[in-house]
Symmetry: C2
Subunit: 458 residues, 2 copies
Amino acid sequence: MTVREIYEKQKELLNKEVTLQGWIRNHRKQKEFGFIDFSDGTDFKHIQIVYESALKDFEQIQKLHVGCSIKVEGKLVPSEGKQDFEVKATEITLLGDCPEDYPMQPKKHSREFLREQAYLRPRTNLFQAVFRIRSIAAFAIHEYFQKNNYLYVHTPLITTADCEGSDQMFKVTTLDFNNLPKDEDGKVDMSKDLFGSLSYITGSGQLHGETFALAFQKIYTFGPTFRTENSNTKTHANEFWMIEPEISFCDLNGLMDIEEDMLKYVVKYVLDHCSDEINFCDNFVEKGLREKLEKLVNSSFTRVTHKEVIDILKKSKEKWEFEPSYEDDIAKEHEKYITEYFNGPVFITDWPKDIKAWYMKANPDNKTVAAVDLEVPGAGELMGGSQREEDYDVLLERAKSMGVDTDAINWYMNLRKFGGCVHSGFGMGFERLIMYLTGIENIRDVIPYPRTPGNCDY
Amino acid sequence: MTVREIYEKQKELLNKEVTLQGWIRNHRKQKEFGFIDFSDGTDFKHIQIVYESALKDFEQIQKLHVGCSIKVEGKLVPSEGKQDFEVKATEITLLGDCPEDYPMQPKKHSREFLREQAYLRPRTNLFQAVFRIRSIAAFAIHEYFQKNNYLYVHTPLITTADCEGSDQMFKVTTLDFNNLPKDEDGKVDMSKDLFGSLSYITGSGQLHGETFALAFQKIYTFGPTFRTENSNTKTHANEFWMIEPEISFCDLNGLMDIEEDMLKYVVKYVLDHCSDEINFCDNFVEKGLREKLEKLVNSSFTRVTHKEVIDILKKSKEKWEFEPSYEDDIAKEHEKYITEYFNGPVFITDWPKDIKAWYMKANPDNKTVAAVDLEVPGAGELMGGSQREEDYDVLLERAKSMGVDTDAINWYMNLRKFGGCVHSGFGMGFERLIMYLTGIENIRDVIPYPRTPGNCDY
C-alpha cells in the first residue's frame, strides 16, 4: 500500500488496517505520544503517523531519526489535528537507519546548499514538486503527440552532421588522450576512432527529424541535446532535453496552431495532474503561478511580425538599454514589453533573414524568413520554429553563403529532390517549459543532475 | 485530411469530397485511366487514387513519377478493385517532383541496400511498420509506468560516474585534439575541459536512478545509452535506448512481477494499436509473429534458479558447444533450450556472484546474488535486473574487490546510510524489445540511424 492509494481511497480505507513503507520526514516526540511526518514518495502529500506509549518498543521508536526508512502497520483513523486522517500505528519497524547529522533536516535549506546535495534534494518538498511536474509534463508531451498520430523518432545522439554548427558541439572519442594516433602530417588520425571519423554529440535532431517527416508526415523527437556554450547563467545548461516536432504539408500558420494547441494541452494536463505540486510552487516559488498557467490555457495567442514588434517598441516611451532594430534580434527587455503589451503569449513571425538559420524558408521579400518565436509572459522565448526551405537551389545558395558543408549532408539536401514539400518544425527546450510551469528561475533546479561549465558532479 | 482519418471515418466520408497530400508510392497508367498507390505516412495502409482521361492535365498527371508529392482532390467512392474504397480524383496537383532514378522504386530492396539509404527507407512498407511499432511501443512503456505512478527521471548523459566501467564509455571533450593542453608532467590537462575534468557519455542511468527511487519510491528512466564495444554483430550497436526502472521496498520477486506485468502490457498495447504493422511483419519478416506475441501476453512466466537451469541442461541429452557450468553464464544455445523446455518466457534467478555486477545483493549463501535475467523465446535475454545491495559494509567490500572507485561515487554509497532500504531495478534494451516485436534480426534495422563500429553515417 502507498500513501497515494490512501489519499485516493480514503473513504473505503478509513478505520481499516494499513501497512506503509517510507521515510521519516519529521518526528515530534511527547511523553505519551509521538508524531511522525511520513512520506513514501508516491504522493506530494505526506501522512501523519501517531504512536502511543502503549506500543512495545515505544522508547526505541522515539529514538528514530529524520531520514530513517520504516515500515508502519496501523489503522487509518480520523485525525484530531489539521489533516483529515492519520495512521494510528500498531507497529513501527526500522528498515534503514539514518544518522543524526543527516543533511536533509526539516528546515529551510538554500537552493545552493541543495544543489550541492543533488542526490538528496529529491527528498525535499520543493524537489518532490519540481521533479513530479517534470515527469508529468514529459508524459503530457508524449500523450499530446501520440493522440494526434505523430511518430516518435529517436534521432541519433552521436553524429557527424549537425544543424547548429560543430563549434558548439562536444566531440566524442574512444581514443586515449595521452596516446593519440597521428597521421603522416602529424595530425590526430581520427580514422583510428571507433567510428573511423571525428564525431560529436548532437545539438539538435532536426535534420534527421525532417527525413522522417517526409515519410510519416508528422513526427516528434524528445531527447537530450548538448551545447558547449561556456556561459554560467541561470538559463544555460550544457545538457538539456528538447522536443522537436516536424510536420509535412504544414506552413508557418499551421505550425503556430500546433504550438499553441500543444502548449495549452501540456499546461492543462499538469494543472489537472499536479494540483498539490502547483499549489506548493504557487505558495513558495512564484506567487500567482496557478493563475498564470490557467490564464495561458484560456488565452488566445497573438500573432505579429517582427516588423510590427519593432514598430511597437519604437513607438513606446520606454528607455531601452538595447535600441530596437528592424535588422536585429529582440532583447529580453523587448520580449517582456511585448508580452505585457499584448497581455499574453505572442508569436513573432517573419524575422530578418540574416539573424536566422540557413534552413529557414525565405519569404518573397527576400529579406525575412518564415520563422516564428513564441514569447510567453514570464518566460521569454519558449519555442522557436520555422517553415523549412523546400526549394533545393535556394537552400543550396543560402547554405553555402552561411558556410555550411552541404556535401556532408547531401541526404538532407536531397529531401528537396525526392518528393519535397512545404514542411515546418519547431524546437522547445524542455527545461524552459519546466521553469515556466514551476516558477523556478535557475535551470540547475529543474534538472536532476545539471551539467554546466566546471560542473559535472555526480 | 489524412489517410488515417479516411480509414477511421470511412462510413461517414463515403461519397464525400476529400483532399489529401502525400506521396506517390506506385503509378499504373492505362490509356483512359491511371491508378496511384498513395501514402501520406499517417497510416500503414495506402489508398488508391483513380483518375480518368476526362481530367484536365491528364497527360501531365500520367507523367508523374514514383516519389512525387502531390495534392489530390476528389471523392471517396466504393472501389471495384480489391480495396473497399478509393478516391476518384477531380484534381491532382504536383507539389514536389521526383526524378525517374529515385532509389525507392516499388520493388523488393535488400535490407543492406536500404541501410545505405537510411534517410529514404522510412518510406518503405517495412520501415513504416518497424518505426511505427517503435514509436507506439515507446509510448506504451511511458503509459505503463505513468499509470502505475512511477516518476520519469532524466538521468544525466554526460557523467564522471558509471556503473558499467569507464573502459566501455565514450569520452566527451571540448578540447582540440590537435592542440591539447598539457600539465607539468606532460599529460593532457583535463582541467582545461569545459567541465574541468575528464567526462564520459553514460552506459547506464542506474546509479542516478537509485537516488531518485529512494525519494520517489518508483522511478524509471528511458533514454539513450552508449557503449564503445567494438563488435560488429547483429545485436550490438554503440548507441541504443534503454529503460531502467528502480523500485524501493521491492525485492527480487516483486521485481519479476513488475517485469512480467510491464512486458505483457507493452506487447498487448502494440498488438492493439499496430495491427496492420504486426500483420505485415508476420507475413514478410517472421512467420508466426502475431501468434508468438499473443501467446506471450497469455502465458505465465516460469521462475527458476540458475542452479536449476544448469541441472536441466546437464540432464538433457543435447550436445552442447559450451558445457553448462554452475559457475558460469549460460550460452545462447542454453537460453534457447530453456525457453523451449518451459515453452515460454523464463526468469532465471540467483546467479553466481562472480559473473555479476558489484551492486547486486548478496544472497545468504554468499555464492550467488539476487539477480534475474528474463529469457524470452526467440529473443534470448530481454531484461536483466537485481535486488541492489543495501548493506553499506557488504557493498563497500564487494565494490573494492571489483576495483570500483567508491570515493568517486560516495553519494551512491551514502544511499545505504541515509534511510536505505531493500530496492531493486532492471534494465531493458529498447531495441531488443523492438526486434522481438517485429521479428527483425538485425539491430541496424530497428534504429533510425544506427551507430556501429566504423559507421556514423548520416
